[in-house]
Symmetry: C2
Subunit: 117 residues, 2 copies
């Protein structure tokens, strides 16, 4: 639906704000299987989590620093790549965010539930 | 679930980020029926959209400036109150955000769908 509309900058800003916090959740869920930055970026884009390298890479480093992701270098290929993986704390955070997401969805449903009556 | 857990500052920050964009949507949906700031604040709190006056009031002014809300003074009571109401552009924005919310929810479901298999 969104893609069929002409989106002005203000609307785009509100959409971006709505999505910002969800990229963290998407990273934590995706990286239960280890992956490197660029592959994750492509996966998230396919899933519709619009982000870019300039946002995602610092976010991955931040999540690692916060103890939610761990990383290791894979040197099997000609080009060594840093693989990230969600750790125990990251899984717990993902569960917390998922529970909150469900709660927000329920609240939004309450706000729109009168529409059909 | 969230309320039963001890939430550290880092987790709280991620939760706040997840919820930030949804307050705009909650305001737009709520204010289809005109209301004043403090009553809206209480309504949102009841629904679980944790926000505070210092965040909500500037947000209402910003949404009015952006043309999504209109306002008028109600002077029937001893204390005049500024009532906000969602306008046509605000309703359109709400529909856009709702569609996006559904799309994100679907993407999150895709990321978690392998969990049971």
């Amino acid at each position: 639906m969104v893609s069929h509309m002409e989106i002005d900058d203000t609307t785009a800003g509100h959409l971006q704000e709505l999505r910002r916090g969800t990229v963290v959740l998407a990273c934590l869920l995706s990286l239960r299987v280890p992956d490197y930055g660029y592959a994750l970026l492509e996966r998230l884009e396919t899933l519709g989590f619009a982000t870019d390298a300039g946002t995602l890479y610092p976010l991955l480093r931040r999540l690692e620093k916060q103890g939610f992701l761990s990383s290791s270098w894979n040197t099997d290929d000609a080009r060594p790549r840093k693989f990230y993986q969600t750790g125990a704390a990251g899984l717990a955070l993902a569960q917390t965010l998922l529970a909150d997401w469900s709660a927000i969805t329920e609240s939004i449903r309450t706000l729109t539930s009168g529409d059909e009556s």
